[in-house]
């Protein structure tokens, strides 16, 4: 597909969706307090764009911080359990058990531990996101074909070299798949954190607007969240393309 088509077609889909929404709300006479039309949401956004931007930036920073922690610690943890079977036996069931606890239920506890600043929100975003990273990168690290590992052994490759020259590269596509899921989940985590206790961020906007039955404002925040999700995942797509050049280009950019 052409470059223009890759951008224009999804945009066309979004515009058609919004149009249908607008028309449906007007024809059926839905009360704005139940479901405001897109035009009302746009109007709401235009009344205080800077304020909305400020809230969006805060939520984005929380999301990215939680995501970054999940990415780094998640990949590190997956390396540990894949390289040392004993560690996997000791730690992995515990990890699964901890992950099975609903994070929303732990959130209030984090307020007690970390206060009401950014830390508990980052912690929740991290906790929700890390599982996907660990599962996918562990799968990736184990996806090396058997004869590639045989070759490495026959060439006397050290364990470290096999890890950084073969296993990690092999795992990269899986890691990126996990990171994309983790990014969406980190955003969820950030909102959950803001729901529990916050004076800032899109989660806070939704919660306070809901209290005032300001449905248009709730939807304005939700719309920003939708766009934010698309942008963050899109950014990861770009990073992936640069990180895995052999999948997208015929030859490396520069000789060596």
């Amino acid at each position: 597909m052409s470059r223009a088509g890759r951008i224009l077609l999804p945009l066309l889909g979004a515009v058609l969706f919004l149009l249908a929404w607008e028309v449906a709300v007007r024809i059926l006479g839905v009360r704005p307090i139940m479901l405001p039309p897109p035009s009302a949401i746009l109007h709401e956004l235009s009344t205080a764009p800077l304020w909305f931007a400020e809230q969006a930036v805060y939520t984005t920073l929380i999301t990215l911080a939680g995501f970054a922690m999940a990415a780094v610690l998640g990949v590190a943890f997956s390396i540990l359990i894949v390289e040392w079977a004993v560690l996997e036996r000791i730690l992995f069931p515990l990890f699964v058990a901890l992950n099975s606890v609903p994070k929303v239920a732990v959130a209030p506890l984090f307020i007690i531990w970390f206060g009401t600043g950014s830390e508990p929100k980052i912690a929740i975003a991290f906790l929700i996101a890390v599982f996907a990273v660990v599962i996918d990168s562990a799968l990736g690290l184990r996806s090396v074909p058997a004869d590639t590992l045989d070759l490495a052994r026959a060439l006397h490759g050290s364990r470290f070299k096999v890890l950084v020259r073969i296993k990690l590269y092999c795992a990269l596509p899986h890691i990126f798949a996990g990171l994309k899921v983790a990014m969406s989940l980190a955003l969820v985590g950030a909102i959950v954190g803001e729901f529990v206790s916050s004076g800032r961020g899109l989660g806070y906007v939704i919660l306070t607007a809901q209290g005032q039955f300001d449905t248009a404002r709730v939807f304005a925040a939700i719309a920003i969240l939708g766009v934010l999700g698309v942008v963050l995942i899109g950014a990861l797509d770009v990073v992936e393309r640069y990180a895995l050049p052999w999948r997208h280009r015929v030859a490396p950019g520069s000789g060596h």
Partner: protein, 262 residues
């Protein structure tokens, strides 16, 4: 490492037996006895599942024999020996490295200075006609080109022992012919001791100085034939009477083993 006496075999296999899955398990190799001398090109010929690949994996130190003795340079093979070159049916190229980096992998993994081996890597690529592809990712190459890269990789450190496990098995007939000719040219040039697993009679007779036929399940040495064919060969040899005589002989042997029906 002391070089073995020229009259001394480089590989000695004495009653090598390999069983998978314990005492009641599958016997893959049953008392294989075989000597290989320096500079020989030995084809291990047999049907799928006859254990010839398992034998090669034992030589590569990737499998441990269950019983018997397997020596390389007079010493038991416990892990992958030094001076080993290896090629598999799947080329096992690393997609994330370019062609040159792939060829240099044995130097990198062997802890050698990669830069020192670059001229040699480029020379090998030139020899197989891939000099212009040094900085191309493997995904851009055809199956035959990829397998050529894998062969260059196996030859980088001038191996004393080259083990090839059906390296051309997944290629189309024409590419396979070309690579047979290429491999023969390279071997005739440097005479590295080579063990080559194949189930193609034509390939075995064309490439080797000796053909060892394995019988299926459990793998045993059914026949061990030193070929009296010219040292330097072209593909045209395959139409010569002496070539056809050998090929017919092995086919007849396969028929008596009940493997092919004419």
């Amino acid at each position: 490492m002391g070089r073995a006496d020229a009259s001394q075999p480089i590989i000695v296999s004495r009653d090598l037996t390999k069983r998978f899955g314990g005492r009641a398990g599958l016997t893959a190799l049953d008392r294989i006895s075989l000597d290989v001398r320096e500079g020989e090109f030995v084809a291990l010929l047999g049907p799928s599942g006859c254990g010839k690949s398992t034998f090669l994996r034992c030589l590569a130190g990737l499998e441990q024999p269950t019983e018997g003795e397997l020596l390389f340079d007079g010493r038991p093979i416990q892990g992958p020996p030094q001076g080993l070159g290896i090629a598999f049916q799947r080329d096992a190229l690393l997609d994330w490295f370019d062609v040159l980096q792939n060829v240099l992998l044995p130097a990198e993994f062997g802890g050698l200075r990669v830069r020192d081996h670059e001229p040699r890597a480029r020379e090998l690529l030139r020899m197989v006609g891939l000099q212009d592809f040094a900085h191309v990712y493997p995904s851009a190459l055809s199956g035959g080109m990829r397998q050529r890269v894998a062969i260059c990789r196996s030859l980088l450190l001038e191996p004393r022992l080259l083990l090839m496990d059906e390296p051309f098995g997944a290629l189309d007939a024409m590419t396979r012919d070309q690579l047979n000719a290429d491999l023969h040219r390279i071997w005739a040039d440097r005479r590295m001791t080579t063990l080559f697993v194949t189930h193609s009679i034509t390939e075995a007779v064309f490439l080797s100085t000796r053909v060892v036929v394995f019988s299926p399940r459990p793998g045993r040495v059914a026949e061990n034939v030193v070929l009296d064919l010219p040292a330097h060969r072209t593909l045209a040899l395959r139409e010569e009477p002496e070539f056809l005589r050998y090929a017919r002989g092995f086919r007849a042997l396969f028929e008596t083993m009940g493997l092919i029906h004419g």
